[in-house]
Amino acid sequence: MKSSDTRFEILIGRVLRTGVVTSIVCLAIGLPLSLAGPTPGAGVRLLNIGILFLIATPAARVVLSTIEYILERDWPFAVLTSIVLIELIIGAVAALVFHRKI
């Protein structure tokens, strides 16, 4: 593995940790607010933000990996990671389609 691999791995690690920590902070604050606070609505909104952050974290990691492979001119793997991203986007679109039907 090249040294550039390790640099990116460390960056990915940082992004993941930031995503998880941000998410957990939102959840930890939002949870008591939504259960017992004066404005439960605000608490629930915070929870939803936390959950969105959580779901976005692995997706962000895939985006970073795609960029890494493009920068390294590793086209086969750039294509592969892009496909993963497209699959997740298809999932999001399918989810929105479901949502409209309700």
Binding site: V20, G50, T57, R61, L88, I102
Partner: protein, 276 residues
């Protein structure tokens, strides 16, 4: 579906903690324990239990990957390739889950739980290492520092199509049942595809984050993710796995395996008999 009162939130938090610590001790995600508790114990429909559990899997996977990144155990290239299959599987599974009956999912859960019990107990530790560090690992293989011999070793990937197919199936199962799916990938990667156990486990740990995201997106968009319950579970699992990792060195492996067999066996039986 029960209304999430503060008491219920606390119960879910505690359940998450148990799931997280047991998962950390036994090397599994917490989903296997959390979903039956939410479904059979608290009355959540399987889809909602799965949705909650998948978010905990994302949290666990992301924190584990963040902790181990740069440690050279994770095979990102192989993982990315397999993620193409596993993400497809998880999106497909999430959509399929909307149309499959409760009881069918519960029976599937019972079957999978029994399989996990067998696989974990019968786990063979194939070494799969090539001791000459000068050997080319190929596009998808890797080099790592083997603590046991104190030398740098190489491994090559074999039977890639098998890994791809298993990843696809694992993705489906993950979304349908709300579990990580690592229990399928790790033994296959280790026993049949040429990866050393620790590398397989580390690679699977980061892959299941993407897998769980695929399913979670579908459930979330479909309004099946209860935010208060999910938040309680996520925080519980994080707390539990933190505790579990600390306790882990103090408990003999034999005890852990027996505990696992007992718990999974009970879950399997419960899912078959009390489901529906």
């Amino acid at each position: 579906m029960p209304a999430v009162t503060p008491t219920l939130a606390l119960i879910i938090f505690a359940a998450g903690a148990v799931a997280g610590s047991t998962g950390a001790l036994l090397g599994l995600g917490g989903g296997i324990f959390l979903v039956p508790f939410l479904n059979l114990g608290l009355g959540f429909p399987i889809a909602m239990a799965a949705a909650i559990s998948l978010t905990t899997v994302i949290a666990t996977s992301s924190s584990v990957t963040a902790g181990k990144a740069g440690m050279n155990l994770m095979n990102f290239r192989l993982g990315m390739l397999l993620e193409v299959a596993t993400a497809a599987g998880s999106v497909l599974g999430g959509i399929t889950a909307q149309f499959v009956a409760q009881t069918t999912l519960q029976r599937l859960f019972a079957f999978v739980t029994a399989a996990v019990a067998l696989i974990t107990i019968a786990r063979s530790k194939q070494r799969n290492v090539i001791t000459d560090p000068g050997v080319d690992p190929g596009r998808l293989g890797g080099r790592l520092f083997d603590v046991e011999t104190g030398a740098t070793v190489v491994y090559r990937i074999k039977r890639l199509p098998l890994a791809v197919v298993v990843s696809f199936i694992a993705g489906n199962v993950s979304s349908l049942l709300g579990i990580g799916g690592g229990f399928m990938k790790v033994p296959v990667l280790n026993a049949w595809c040429g990866m050393p156990l620790r590398a397989a486990a580390a690679t699977s740990a980061f892959m299941i984050g993407v897998t769980a995201t695929g399913g979670a997106i579908i459930y979330y968009g479909n309004g099946q993710l209860q935010p208060v319950a999910a938040a309680s579970a996520i925080l519980g699992v994080q707390a539990g796995s933190w505790l579990g990792l600390r306790a882990s060195p103090n408990i003999p492996v034999r005890v852990l395996k027996l505990l696992l067999a007992a718990v999974l066996g009970s879950i399997s039986v419960l899912m078959l008999t009390r489901g529906g």
